[in-house]
């Protein structure tokens, strides 16, 4: 029999070949796979599968049409995802061998290629790139009922690389069972506390109040210092020697950041509490060793490097390393926000190091620091701990007013000189100077506390264009080095004035509502039509800004001040105002995704990642982006409703 070309087989192969993971397979393998394929047709409204159905033995490739995933909870069915041409259906359920977590309905007439799972599984096992793709991209979309994606692909038995193993389940602190935690009341005697510690063989005991809130901690070294070396009576209550307040972190927050906190504050343990403050029940006490056991490898080494570094070249080298670490972490799927926290800790340490070096240098030259409180503040994105790339710096300086204008100017001159030296060093380390001159070396951003507070209280001035921008940057301030109380007094002013000034809040709300989601009515991205970035999409202005501004507005409006980052603000909002929790969780997740895309684009291109080419994103990322813009619409609607902005105006 003459075997001429087989058009149908070729057609299926060429359809598969266009889309990952099939694009990563060999042509021959695809031929083999297609030979056993079946073609299925679904008309609009047909179910591909129902939630709870056991997975069959087949993977579906959507060759034409659109399938919608619905998640059913009780009586409510919610659209959670859309699959269109080129997407693969059912892979994750097969993979994990568990029932489908969603119902899949054909949204239009569909043609599906039914492929045999064992063959695909074998091909994935053979092909590292394809397996990696499946692990990274397909599973992300199917996270119903999970807070963190479990990206495991154990079924294939593939060895994970070190970084994957490190990141898997390691980037967050998971508290151990609470009965493991050793605690006592403040009235307990020192002897009794020490006996409990040695009986349980733990290095510390937590002192808690009746609500199990941590109020202090006693460690082995406290006992050595006070009782063994010192002469404190063992019969005294434990509260006499405890260290207070306790440094707390939140459960499921970044373990690397917690490690860095410990290193920075030179303590051996942190207390894990329900909401990350000392005002909630304690869940666990983690030592550095505990965290290391959880994480295996972490960027804490950079802190030591920074402390030891002396020369600008070395600073730059360390910063380059940090950026490289950021890229591998992001590529391995780390959250953009967690990474922001880590980088902020590292860069803060660098700034502190540079400040003390610059001060020493000035002192050597006979220029002595004025004896007044001062504080170096991070503002803007730096203040929110979102600066992973060194494409920008935002900082400001505050020093206490003396009441004497002449003396203030003298002090300002000193601090400006200090800031200039620090910033020169930062530039040498690879940071770009702020385009908007938001830098402590700018007299506009180096002021006395009285000047800052006066400016912040002048609400009429604030709502005008440029002042508003300046205020928004300042609203995200965070202490980096210096006097905490001074910085706090300014933050206090921010919250007081903004919270009580309707005109400021309205001005902020209007800015948020003024940015429409960047999708046209066909669901395509609106891209830039002018300037140097035609055909690209401004992810900062159109994506990040509205979500970030909304978080800030709500934080100011409700007086939520525990967190500095956008993600943290959304979380705090979700806890403080359960009616907004759905929006808050979605917005946090969406913001994280946008941040990741932006940072990855920036790292790949070596710029600030502001302009993203939609065509360069994976299909999954495109789909997720579209979902994020739905969230953005929700956020805007919520702002409109709360601040009574007429959608037509």
């Amino acid at each position: 029999m003459l075997t001429s070309t087989n058009f149908i087989l070729d057609r299926i192969v060429s359809a598969l070949k266009q889309f990952p993971p099939f694009s990563m397979f060999e042509e021959d393998d695809l031929q083999e796979l297609s030979r056993t394929a079946k073609v299925q047709v679904l008309t609009q409204g047909d179910a591909v599968w129902k939630q709870g159905d056991p997975p069959g033995n087949e993977v579906l490739f959507l060759a034409r049409g659109r399938v919608e995933y619905f998640h059913q909870v009780a009586e409510r069915s919610e659209l959670i995802d859309i699959r269109d041409v080129g997407d693969t259906l059912g892979l994750s359920a097969l993979h994990e061998g568990e029932p489908y977590r969603v119902t899949a309905l054909a949204a239009e007439d569909c043609i599906l290629y039914v492929l045999t799972w064992p063959m695909i599984r074998d091909l994935l096992q053979k092909n590292d790139a394809a397996r990696y793709y499946v692990r990274r991209h397909l599973f992300w979309g199917m996270r119903v009922g999970r807070s963190l994606p479990d990206t495991g692909l154990e079924a294939t038995g593939a060895a994970q690389n070190v970084l994957e193993a490190h990141l898997k389940g390691a980037h967050t602190i998971s508290p151990r069972p609470p009965e493991r935690l050793l605690c006592c009341t403040p009235q307990t005697s020192i002897r009794e506390a020490a006996q409990q510690m040695s009986a349980k063989r733990v290095p510390s005991i937590l002192i808690t109040n009746a609500d199990r809130h941590p109020i202090g901690i006693v460690t082995r070294s406290d006992l050595v210092k006070n009782v063994v070396a010192g002469d404190t009576n063992r019969a005294l209550p434990v509260s006499t020697i405890m260290a207070a307040p306790v440094v707390t972190v939140e459960a499921n927050s970044s373990s690397a950041a917690a490690t860095l906190t410990m290193l920075r504050r030179r303590i051996g343990q942190v207390c894990v509490t329900a909401d990350g403050t000392a005002g909630s029940p304690a869940m666990d006490v983690c030592t550095q060793k505990d965290l290391l056991a959880q994480s295996g490898r972490h960027p804490a080494g950079f802190i030591h490097d920074i402390r030891l570094a002396q020369s600008p070249a070395r600073y730059r080298e360390i910063c380059d390393d940090i950026e490289r670490m950021a890229l591998t972490y992001l590529e391995a799927g780390m959250s953009g926000m967690l990474l922001g926290e880590i980088c902020a800790e590292l860069y803060d340490e660098l700034v502190r190091h540079l400040i003390s070096a610059a001060m020493a240098e000035l002192t050597d030259q006979g220029n002595f620091p004025p004896d007044i409180p001062w504080a170096w503040m991070a503002v803007g994105s730096d203040g929110r701990r979102e600066q992973v790339l060194r494409t920008d710096m935002d900082n400001a300086f505050v020093f206490a007013a003396t009441g004497d204008a002449k003396q203030d100017e003298q002090n300002r001159a000193y601090f400006l000189e200090l800031a200039k030296r620090v910033i020169d060093q930062m530039v040498a380390a690879g940071f770009a100077r702020c385009q908007g001159a938001v830098m402590a070396s700018n007299p506009n951003w180096c002021k006395t506390d009285a000047e800052w507070i006066g400016e912040l209280k002048n609400t009429d001035l604030l709502i005008s264009g440029t002042h508003m921008l300046r205020a928004l940057i300042l609203y995200d301030l965070r202490l980096v080095d210096g006097d905490a109380a001074l910085c706090e007094s300014i933050r206090q002013t921010v919250f007081e004035t903004a919270k009580n000034s309707l005109s400021i809040k309205l001005a902020m709300a209007e800015r948020i509502v003024a940015t429409p989601p960047p999708l046209n009515f066909r669901g395509k991205f609106i891209v830039e039509k002018k300037g140097g970035n035609e055909g690209e999409f401004d992810i900062k202005a159109r994506g990040l800004t509205p979500l970030r501004d909304t978080a800030r507005l709500f934080a100011l409006h409700f007086g939520l001040r525990q967190h500095y980052s956008t993600g943290g603000r959304w979380l705090e909002l979700a806890h403080a105002h359960p009616e907004l929790s759905e929006l808050a969780f979605l917005a946090r997740e969406g913001y994280d995704l946008l941040l990741r895309i932006r940072t990855l684009t920036g790292l790949q291109r070596g710029d600030d990642g502001r302009y993203v080419n939609p065509a360069a994103l994976t299909k999954l990322q495109q789909g997720q982006l579209v979902n994020v813009f739905d969230v953005q619409r929700m956020a805007q609607a919520s702002v409109r409703a709360r601040f009574a902005i007429d959608p037509r105006s």
């Binding site: 003459l2 001429s4 008309t43």
Partner: protein, 227 residues
């Protein structure tokens, strides 16, 4: 020499086929339980008396899925065909038909596949009459089967092709049906391309029918033609 009056003289596969064809099946059978064979032929485009099958392709639908592993395709042996106008359409050259399978061989493979199956074609009369002709020529039997014409099914299911009563209304072409479903027409005017497209169109039409009925399709819900 085959004696047309003696069934004993038939080869075994024809006998089996005749037995299978005799069993009348109930119209209550569910469509999903049926083995469906979608086929298409390419000919040299002459009137029936002088027309010859040049190639034949078929797909089987089992459980509502087109099984690619059971795809079959034949080029039929014709020693000295001349290019006709149809050659320009289907693109089967004389040199290919010279290497094809002889008609009896084709039938020997084809008939067991068709036995007991529900046959689906587009413009069924055209295809089946040509198959019938060579079946009679070589084995002196007539093709007996229940078959479904996607053109007629489309006239039932798609409002665009409903019978309107105006004279000379013709059944829709495969291209027209594809346009209705927005189906990509693959390798049109090759036997396998058309058979595959017909199979997809058939499944879409069945989907429409099932939605209209609101229950699983039984064989008698379809416009069956008897041959």
């Amino acid at each position: 020499m085959i004696n047309p009056f003696s069934k004993k003289e038939h080869p075994e596969f024809i006998r089996d086929y005749l037995i299978a064809a005799k069993q009348r099946k109930s119209g209550k059978r569910l469509l999903s339980d049926e083995r469906i064979v979608v086929l298409d032929i390419e000919t040299n485009g002459r009137p029936l008396e002088s027309d010859e099958i040049l190639s034949l392709a078929l797909f089987e639908i089992v459980n509502g899925q087109i099984e690619l592993s059971r795809q079959r395709k034949w080029i039929v042996y014709h020693p000295d065909t001349r290019p006709t106008r149809a050659t320009a359409i289907h693109g089967i050259l004389p040199c290919e038909t010279e290497q094809g399978v002889p008609e009896p061989e084709l039938l020997k493979e084809l008939i067991p596949i068709l036995a007991g199956a529900l046959v689906v074609c587009h413009h069924i009369r055209f295809d089946l009459s040509r198959i019938n002709k060579i079946l009679y020529r070589h084995f002196k039997v007539r093709f007996k089967t229940q078959a479904i014409d996607t053109a007629i099914l489309a006239m039932h299911e798609l409002s665009a092709f409903h019978k309107t009563g105006y004279p000379n209304q013709r059944a829709p072409s495969l291209d027209e049906i594809c346009a209705q479903f927005n189906l990509p027409a693959t390798a049109r005017h090759t036997a396998e391309g058309d058979a595959f497209t017909t199979a997809q169109a058939f499944l879409f039409l069945c989907g429409r029918l099932q939605r209209r009925l609101g229950r699983p399709i039984r064989v008698r819900d379809l416009p069956l033609s008897e041959f």
